[in-house]
Amino acid sequence: MIDIQKKTKKEGIFALSLLAILMLVITLFSGCTQTNNENQGLPIVVVGRDSASGTREFFWEHVMKKGNFTTTMLEKNSNGAVHQTVSTTQGAIGYVGLGYLDEEVKAVKINGIEATVANVVAGTYPISRALNMYTNGEPTGIALEFLKYLDSTEGQAIVEDEGFVPKTSTGSYVKVDGLLGSITIVGSTTVLPIAQLAAEDFNTLYGENLVAVSGGGSSVGVQSVGEGSAIIGMASRELKSSETTSYPNLVKHIVCNDGIAIIINPENTYVEDLTLEQVQDIYDGTYTNWDELE
């Protein structure tokens, strides 16, 4: 049964691969590495959103002018993830909503204009889009009141707190009588924070859980309100043609605007200011190193 002499080959290969792995591990952990090639500038790491993202679609239409993104672009499915990658990657560039700006990332000026809520309101900062809610037909009852609440001073204050760009408010919200039942709001995770916070305050105001909010994504939002499983659908984009054919009765309601900041790592000293064309050229892969932009 046992055959000690034969097939020592197999044993050798086994031992050798184990050995090689051990050495690999040792090398890895002893930090035996080459130094960064500082003199070669800083390669650009392009970070964007996923194909299904409303933010990406907007960026593609207004910054890329519908040109293709470079294939090496890293794709993230949330603002937070883009922020995370840019904050830890020296050569990275990304785009996020203004609410995500903090000291861990640096927003570049676009055409010399700083990315701030004030500049979006003033119309000087060029990259911003609307965040929407949809109802099936004109809203009534709780839905109507909730949308009114969002438009009010209270609602737009939440918008501003969360770093979105407020609309001119319709004044302070006035509580009404006779609201019965409850509604659900479903959809875009970008709009979700506003809706969630507003719902919390709205429910507290009425002392009842009138509004429940959940995520799922813009498409789920449109689908749900179209099919009737939600009363309000949230979307960070306009309706697609397929959606307008399926659900012709949807009514749009703009909640606020969302300014989109172009962010880089704070340690990136190559640029402070980019033109829209330069951003486009970074994202389509024309520029691959920051020193080309200095």
Binding site: S51, L74, G91, S229
Partner: protein, 645 residues
């Protein structure tokens, strides 16, 4: 004289027979459920694929995935990405895991084993979102800094994370296989003067080969189907690395494509259909892996089976050995390449020379020293696993401990989770898990009772078993898409507790089925015969003699299923969850769940307060899942000690 033969007294018990038949058909129904599920998954996924926005050939072979802009739907780079990441993961995980398994079962003292084994099993209990955060924040940064590459979100990062995630699966299954090698074999070898290491190579590994292969295949299955962790660390650029072995290239897998794009895609559009096409493709790949696995295992088992006559196999033994050689050399080549990329030419050359020398001298080194070298390598493997576990755990504890308090557990989240606690996601997770187990346990246990107790091996049982195996290898995200297409859209449940519970139940049925089957099989046949011999019926035998000693095994399976269900994000993401601060009042309302809550507050809510809460949520999720696993391990250990035949 006994001549009254008109009525045969031995034909009786019509009623009892009818009862037995009824019981059997109940079990039969549960058993075919597995096949029904797999077919309905296939059916609904394919149904949603139609019409595919492009022809099948360019869907499979096209390299550009641009579903919304240039409207190209080529998945080839995604397929390549999936395969490459898995390959890398296996190169990392296989040697470490098998080394670890050998160490645990053959070298470690029983005290050491009793610590290390549960530790590795705990590694399996860590939810994949948690791995993802660890990978994104720690691992990618390390890779970037150590190797001086522009970004750490690379193929390498993906392979390392998947490798770590596959280690516990491979280690535990391989260890079981090694432990199952009869002691007589070992003693026979040792008695002939072979060293322990020789015995391991010559007797133990060959005898355990089928189990080890099964372990590896399970590991591959786990790696191919992983979604949440991989989408966070791979960068998700849909490109084929240039050159192909550039492990520092970002990469995109089929699962991560589904994970990041499905939630926002307009239902019914070309992108939507293409994503379901991706899901079908992913399912097909896992099916192929699974079928190959089942087949390979069958051949190996047949080859080892003593009674079987020689049959012609598609894979002859020599071919198998050849395949193994090819894989070993490929692996070696890959490692060399890696070494070259990392350390440069000189060090690689030196290592190759050292390796070559060792290889050359292998016959000159005394067996004793060889054994020493081998054992320390195995020890290193196990040490590595423990270090990894330690790093991940301490990272999560350090980041989460600050947020933990009684209020954190009992209050509903407020202001997007920045304030308040996590009571709703915590309770939501418990709801989801309770529902899932209530559905999955009867079906899984019933099916395995049918398979082990009621049937002789035939085509039907083979189909059922294959169905269960396939289900077991089905990626969790595929369950998620199926749940979305079937429960949410087709049955119009909407995002609801019940849709999530059923989807999770489908996912854990195979886990329960497998562990239960194992537990039932471990009850000695002689006990059943003893019961039949005194006139017990089949059902009486099962209920009174087979089930009681199998109960701990079944409970363990159920708890492992619970743990898996609690930590999964992908299946509930499209079926059940809402980022809400309410408790659901009916089965048709959505719920919040810990992994989803964690995912949202850490990716969609800006600010330091959210980060803090995310740390706490991750820790609670980890503790919850690890708690379930620990209970399972404790039960098992307790009964292993007390149960003796």
């Amino acid at each position: 004289m006994n001549t009254k033969k008109i009525i045969n007294p031995l034909i009786s018990g019509k009623k009892r027979k009818r009862n037995e038949k009824a019981i059997k058909s109940v079990f039969f129904l549960t058993a075919i459920f597995g096949i029904i599920i797999i077919f309905s998954i296939l059916f609904f996924l394919i149904r949603e694929t139609y019409p595919l926005p492009t022809d099948i050939w360019s869907f499979l072979s096209g390299t550009i995935w641009s579903p919304t802009e240039s409207l190209q739907f080529g998945t080839f780079s995604l397929t390549v990405g999936t395969l490459l990441v898995t390959l890398g993961a296996m190169i990392i995980a296989i040697p470490i895991s098998i080394g670890g398994a050998l160490f645990i079962s053959e070298i470690a003292s029983s005290r050491v084993r009793s610590i290390i084994k549960p530790a590795i099993e705990l590694l399996a209990g860590i939810p994949s979102v948690v791995y993802g955060f660890f990978g994104l924040i720690i691992l990618t940064t390390w890779i970037k800094d150590i190797f001086g590459v522009p970004t750490g979100e690379t193929w390498l990062a993906g392979s390392i994370i998947l490798g770590i995630m596959a280690i516990p699966t491979i280690t535990t299954v391989a260890e079981d296989a090694i432990k199952a090698v009869p002691r007589e074999f070992k003693e026979g070898s040792l008695a002939m003067g072979a060293t322990k290491w020789q015995t391991i190579q010559k007797v133990i590994i060959p005898s355990a080969l089928s189990g080890i292969t099964a372990a590896i295949i399970l590991g591959i299955g786990r790696a191919v189907g992983e979604t949440m962790a991989i989408l966070m660390v791979c960068g998700n650029a849909a490109i084929i690395p240039t050159p192909l072995w550039n492990i520092f290239s970002p990469i995109r897998t089929l699962t991560s494509t589904l994970g990041i794009e499905t939630a926002e895609v307009p239902v019914g559009g070309p992108h939507y259909h293409a994503l379901f096409g991706v899901a079908v493709l992913l399912l097909m790949i896992t099916l192929i892996i699974n079928i190959t696995a089942v087949y390979l295992l069958g051949t190996i088992q047949k080859r080892q089976g003593a009674t079987s006559k020689k049959k012609k196999h598609l894979f002859s033994i020599t071919l198998l050995i050849k395949i193994k050689k090819i894989f070993t050399s490929l692996g070696l080549l890959f490692i060399l390449l890696l070494l070259y990329l990392i350390t440069g030419l000189l060090i690689t050359a030196i290592l190759v020379i050292i390796g070559g020398l060792l290889w050359f001298m292998r016959n000159k080194i005394s067996q004793k020293n060889l054994q020493k070298i081998a054992f320390s390598t195995l020890g290193a493997a196990i040490l590595l696993i423990i270090v990894i576990l330690g790093i991940i755990l301490s990272y999560i504890i350090i980041n989460g401990a600050g947020a933990l308090s009684w209020e954190f557990l009992t209050e509903a989240p407020k202001r997007l989770g920045r304030e308040g606690g996590i009571s709703t996601p915590l309770i939501g997770t418990l709801y989801l898990v309770a529902g899932a187990i209530a559905i999955a346990l009867p079906i899984g246990v019933g099916a395995s009772i049918y398979l082990t107790e009621y049937t002789k091996e035939n085509t039907l049982t083979k189909i059922i078993r294959t169905g269960a195996d396939l289900l077991n290898g089905t990626p969790s995200i595929v369950f998620g898409l199926f749940g979305f297409a079937f429960f949410v859209l087709y049955l119009k449940f909407g995002f609801s507790l019940i849709a999530g519970q059923i989807t999770l139940a489908f996912m854990i049925i195979p886990t329960i089925l497998r562990t239960t089957e194992e537990a039932l099989r471990s009850v000695p046949q002689s006990l059943r015969e003893g019961s039949y011999a005194v006139g017990a019926t089949r059902w009486q035998t099962i209920r009174r003699v087979v089930l009681p000693p199998a109960a701990p095994g079944i409970i363990t399976g159920a708890i492992l299923g619970i743990g898996r269900a609690a930590g999964e994000t992908a299946p509930i993401m499209f079926t059940a969850v809402a980022f809400s601060s309410f408790f659901p009042t009916s089965l048709l309302e959505p719920v919040n769940a810990l992994p989803y809550h964690l995912f949202i507050i850490s990716t969609n809510v800006p600010g330091a307060a959210a980060k803090n809460a995310a740390g706490g949520t991750a820790l609670v999720l980890l503790l919850l899942v690890i708690g379930f696993y620990s209970i399972a391990i404790l039960i098992r250990n307790h009964y292993q000690k007390t149960m003796k035949w």
